[in-house]
Amino acid sequence: MSIEKSRREFIAAGLLTTMAAVACNSKKSPFAPEEDVQPSGEKVKLLSVDGEIIEVDKAYLKPVPHMPSVSNEEIRKGIPGKKFAMVIDLSRCKNLKKCQSACNHMHHVHSEQNWIKVYQMQDAEMTAPYFQPTTCMHCDEPPCVKVCPVDATFKRQDGIVLIDSDRCIGCRFCMAACPYSTRVFNWEEPELAADVAAQTYSAETSVPQKRGTVGKCDFCPDMTRMGMLPHCVSACPNGVFFFGDINEDSVTNGSETFRFSDLVKDKSGYRLMEDLGTKPSVYYLPPVNRNFKFEEGLKNDEPAAKKA
């Protein structure tokens, strides 16, 4: 996991040094946080691989460039040019629920609630059961957003559906409208550690959560802004979750990267409840050619499985 992280930084640093040394104007990454780096004016002399001495502004050398905090207005617009999507490969899921625990941990979800639910599904009596993790579907025709009376839940241009807990009035119409049972409500004051509670709220981190407002999977836009994968994707040891940008036509689970259009075509991808016309951004790959038995997965349910 940490290898993945440093690899991503490696790329970021690569760009940084390119910019610093070559005064790059050729390629502008659509996502480049490095564009926001302000030169500090303080120069250092460094050695290049072939022994040249190069003067570089110190500001470019920071391992992770400081991410300027994103305004609520920017959060509501989303990241231009992006269209995030997820592909969940059901043939790989064995109910480990690492996605769930990572998500709950990172978003400080109420101890009894889950943003990611791992369903035990069986479509028909004679067909095989399988595990189906569900996140928010981030629909392109989101029924929840349609019914929100105050713009508290909104869809962004990058396809992500978010909730602004500073706006939500707690009417819970969105919960009734969502056919995927994805939304949860903060019925009581969230129990948060002091440092978490003291964080400045952002609709992109969904932290800290607030009493009397609705919460749900947010596709971790704070992570994607840093060029990192959502927590569930990086937490899954079986590489079930693929995340990426449809405009780039590429999804990755951290170690494997596929061309999105090829993947969903070759493996007969589908979306949940297509007939409702919600147009989800989450695609599923059918649970075929599984390399484990369903019963094995059942063992992964903790003894005190929070199952209704």
Binding site: L61, K146, N247
Partner: protein
């Protein structure tokens, strides 16, 4: 050397690293052990840097250990060879570039050892780690034979005054994507042939690039035990230009309150205006009736006086 050799070396190296770290910390392997790893990076054949990572194995995964002060040395752990003092960040990472003052040492050596050391703090044992790399550069190029596009890359080692291609190097050739690079062909990795050239056919036709259709090709050598990590990019006009989708800004039932569909806005305004027009008219009637009452009183008063 065979292609297999590299896989073996990687396994061996990781085994060695694992044993080394356990030896270093001299702790029970079942307990959470903090390790210090050192890696060498060279992006774009320009400024190499050393990255240290302090982490702790918890269960099956590593958690970063933060705020560990680490000294990084060039070749020898002596004060004169100190490249820099760093403190690991939130992700357990810290890095140091090579200051210009090491020029003569850098130029004279083709193989360099980087050593990282950390004193015992916060009840943690003292840590150390090192990495030895040979100086190399990575070169990326493109080919076009009879309309078949290809990507090639070479890892070149310093031999005297020249850079010479090395054979059998495993590397990744990909198209740069936001969260992970997409391999240019079907294979995940490509290995340099006997002339030191790794090549791949470009099979990502009409892949979305930037607005002009430019794609960024990326060649990468990852965690090579002789040469470290190298990455180099090249922009090519092989992609499909992406036209921004403006659908999002249209008026729709799911868009924001200021983008109400026109039909709905028209319906709502006409209904509200119609009904409230009547209500306001009625309130005005009440006011008129009030006035009538006052006039009546005034008339009565004038008649009696």
């Amino acid at each position: 050397m065979t292609a297999n050799y590299h896989h073996k070396i990687i396994i061996l190296a990781s085994l060695l690293l694992a044993t080394a770290t356990t030896k270093l910390t001299a702790q029970d392997s079942a307990a959470a052990v903090t390790t210090l790893s050192v890696r060498y990076f060279l992006p774009e054949n320009k400024l190499p840097y050393i990255e240290v990572n302090t982490k702790k194995k918890v269960g099956r995964k590593f958690d970063p250990v933060t705020s560990v002060p680490v000294n990084i040395y060039f070749n020898e752990p002596a004060p004169a060879n100190l490249l820099g003092k760093v403190i690991t960040g939130k992700d357990g990472l810290a890095r140091v570039f090579i200051p210009a003052s090491f020029k003569s040492a850098w130029d004279s050596l083709s193989e360099i050892k980087f050593i990282a050391e950390s004193d015992s703090i916060k009840g943690e044992p003292a840590l150390s780690g090192d990495v030895t790399v040979r100086k190399a550069i990575l070169v990326i190029d493109t080919t076009n034979a009879d309309g078949v596009r290809g990507v090639t890359a070479q890892l070149k080692e310093r031999k005297g005054a020249d850079w010479v291609a090395i054979k059998d190097i495993e590397m990744k050739l990909g198209v740069k994507r936001m969260l992970g690079n997409l391999s240019v062909g079907e294979a995940d990795t490509y290995t340099a042939d006997s002339t030191g050239l790794a090549s791949a056919e470009f099979k990502r036709d009409s892949l979305a690039g930037d607005s002009k259709g430019n794609l960024v090709l990326v060649a990468r050598v990852e965690d090579n035990d002789t040469y470290g990590n190298l990455v180099v990019e090249k922009s090519v006009p092989w992609g499909k230009g992406v036209i921004a989708d403006t659908h999002f800004w249209h008026r729709s039932l799911w868009s924001t309150g200021n983008r109400v569909p026109v039909w709905l806005l028209f319906l709502a305004i006409s209904i509200i205006a119609g009904v409230w027009g009547v209500i306001i008219y009625l309130i005005r009637q009440v006011i008129k009736m009030k006035k009538m009452g006052k006039d009546f009183d005034a008339a009565l008063l004038s008649r009696t006086t």
